[in-house]
Amino acid sequence: MRPSSARLLNILVPIKRSIDYAVKIRVNPQQTGVETNVKHSMNPFDEIGVEEAVRLREKLKDAVKNITVVTIGPTKANEMLRTALAMGADKGIHIEIPETLSPEPLGVAKALKEVVNKEKPDLVILGKQAIDDDAGQTGQMLAGLMGWSQATFASKVEVDEPRGVVTVTREVDGGLQKVECKLPAIVTTDLRLNEPRYTSLPNIMKAKKKPIEKLSAEELGVDLRPRLETVKVTEPPKRKGGAKVESVDELVAKLKEAGVA
């Protein structure tokens, strides 16, 4: 445990470049995955994570020493780091991988563990899931690998920095749950945590001067190759339109036919 008095917080926010949420997803003709030659943007849950880190600084002022954002992705993932820097992060780390490689949560968590060991953050804020794979595992796995406290699906985050604790309100089935974690800790964000700000032009200009460090999986000593093999990707069956029935008898007959009644 680190000393608890008058410390400065370092925050790490991992972000992922994913297909823009408004894009209509199409399966590629080879049925090996989805069409990726479409608009990409920052995974919305990660954007909430960046926003939360920036808000913590606005609230705690100088007590937040540094906000670092990290991404694992192709060359273009650089743009996501620039967006996060424009929102208010201080430094970016880009673990560059080929566009064709799509790492799985465990690989990502192992890579993040190395970044955490290097950067020594007190708080890691991740999106609860990425909207492309919907795995929702990375934050938990990272907490496991680090042996840190974790608070997932956060809808409110309060840091009591002199005491070295973070209080997180979690959205759970049937209500809200409040948990207190000792720092260092892992927090994953839910949709209602905050509404991310616009990136203003003066800040976009300033972000160009902020540093982005490049790392490779080899340098970190991790293997990002997936362990699962995708056999086939297909679209869900088209929904059939409803129809009107003339009578109750017909309705019952149809239900029986469909095996409902």
Binding site: D20, Y21, S41, P44, E195, Y198, L201, I204, M205
Partner: protein, 440 residues
């Protein structure tokens, strides 16, 4: 808008051009007035609303796409097709409609053509006078004129279709439209700039055109009052308050192009130039994802909705030189102040200005607690004379309809109006087509 009320007792919904023709023949013989009706989204009560007890002819049941050529982009459709439905029909082929407006979910393509609707894409794709390739029209006596050409070039005789575009249903009923649709842009971006003063709009517009050239697809203006109304009624996500400070004017710039990297490089260059001169721009926002792209558009597109939530609106849709946009709004406000009607009980709540800089089209909206003769007398003919003094148009894209027929002379000479009346007579000597609209 609840300002006019018709007393029609009969609405007909024909399913085919033949049926329209039969109805018109019958009405011609019996001298019964007919009002064609589309999606009922007009703002000057042109189509749709009968003056007395005319028959309403609603084209909503003529809603089939007749053909689409995925090579040329020529689309032929029934007049009653909803604009958005047409967009969805051609989207899988990689095309978009050349016009886009706030009412896209309910307005009909026939109504768009009949009123020569403008909208948000005019800067890029031009007016319907250019994109419409042909029309099928039923004349007041029931004659069907089939000019549904899909040719881009056709210099054989008078170009009759042009007469029906913008005639607001006073010369005949458009039953089918052939229109050229442009390819869908592969990459779109937008940004909002908060300006230090209105005087900066034109220098920025010039820079925008020079730097963004062929990818520029919209350049929209809104004043601070319009912005505040949208924020007040929670219809758009505001920019950071401390950054925009006292900015009196905003512009929205949209680009559409074929290559993301190319477009973004151009945008970066443009932004660096604009942001380097601090006297021009206070701050701005560049959309980072589709959600923000839509949020930024909402700031501009929600203004009409915010205006109607604020109160009863007197809407003037005028063409004036862009340099006079701010002064036209200011003079109108001064006029209302002089008359003791500005921000007084029962009076005018706000005067806002917004519009399409690219087309010199200003929407001047006066929002009042309620409609009153006093306010109307203060505004008309004041606004029309103001427009005339700038050699402007009293109706840039909304048309003349019933509401502005009396004011046509502010924008068109006596000789022009006399010729219009002659033309109307050639088509409709019995005066049964949309009576009372456009020409008094």
């Amino acid at each position: 808008m609840g300002k006019y009320k018709g007393q029609s007792r009969l609405v007909l919904k024909p399913k085919s051009t033949q049926e329209v023709s039969q109805i018109m023949k019958h009405c011609w013989e019996r001298r019964i007035g007919v009002v064609p009706q589309g999606g009922n989204t007009g703002l000057v009560e042109g189509g749709g609303v009968p003056v007395k007890d005319e028959v309403v002819l609603n084209l909503g049941s003529m809603n089939k796409v007749r053909s689409f050529d995925p090579v040329s982009g020529a689309l032929v459709a029934d007049a009653g097709c909803v604009l958005e439905v047409l967009s969805q029909h051609i989207a899988p082929h990689g095309y978009i409609m050349p016009i886009d407006l706030g009412a896209k979910g309910s307005c009909h393509i026939g109504g768009n053509v009949a009123t020569n609707a403008g909208g948000l894409r005019l800067l890029r794709y031009g007016s319907l006078h250019g994109t419409v390739l042909g029309l099928e029209v039923v004349l007041p006596d029931g004659t069907i004129i089939d000019q549904l050409s899909t040719l881009r070039k056709d210099n054989t005789g008078y170009d009759l279709k042009q007469l029906f575009i913008g005639a607001e249903g006073t010369l005949g009923i458009i039953t089918g439209v052939s229109i050229l649709t442009p390819p869908m842009p592969q990459s779109t971006n937008n940004l909002v700039l908060a300006l230090n003063s209105f005087e900066n709009v034109l220098p920025i517009f010039k820079k925008t055109r020079a730097r963004l050239s062929e990818i520029l697809s919209a350049f929209e203006y809104f004043d601070r009052n319009a912005y505040e109304l949208v924020v007040k009624h929670k219809l758009g996500k505001p920019l950071a308050e401390d950054e925009i400070a006292d900015a009196p004017a905003f512009v929205l710039v949209e680009t559409s192009g074929g290559n993301k990297e190319h477009d973004e490089a151009k945008l970066q260059e443009f932004l660096e130039e604009v942001m380097s001169d601090e006297s021009l721009v206070k701050t701005g926002v560049l959309a980072q994802a589709t959600e923000q792209f839509q949020q930024l558009w909402a700031l501009r597109e929600s203004i009409p909705e915010a205006v109607s939530k604020e109160g009863k609106a007197y809407k003037y849709d005028i063409s004036v030189p862009v340099s006079t946009f701010e002064s036209v709004v200011a003079k109108t406000r001064e006029r209302l102040q002089e008359k003791g009607l500005y921000q007084t009980p029962g009076g005018v709540r706000e005067v806002v200005g917004y519009g399409h800089i690219g087309d010199g089209n200003l929407h001047l909206n006066v929002v009042a607690e309620k409609y009153s003769d006093e306010i109307e007398a203060a505004l008309e003919p004041f606004v029309y004379e103001l427009v005339e003094s700038h050699r402007g148009s009293i109706s840039a894209e909304h048309g003349i309809g019933l509401m502005k027929a009396h004011a046509l002379h502010y924008s068109k000479s006596k000789e022009s109006i006399a010729l219009m009346k002659k033309i109307k007579n050639v088509f409709d000597e019995r005066g049964i087509m949309n009576p009372g609209k456009v020409l008094e």
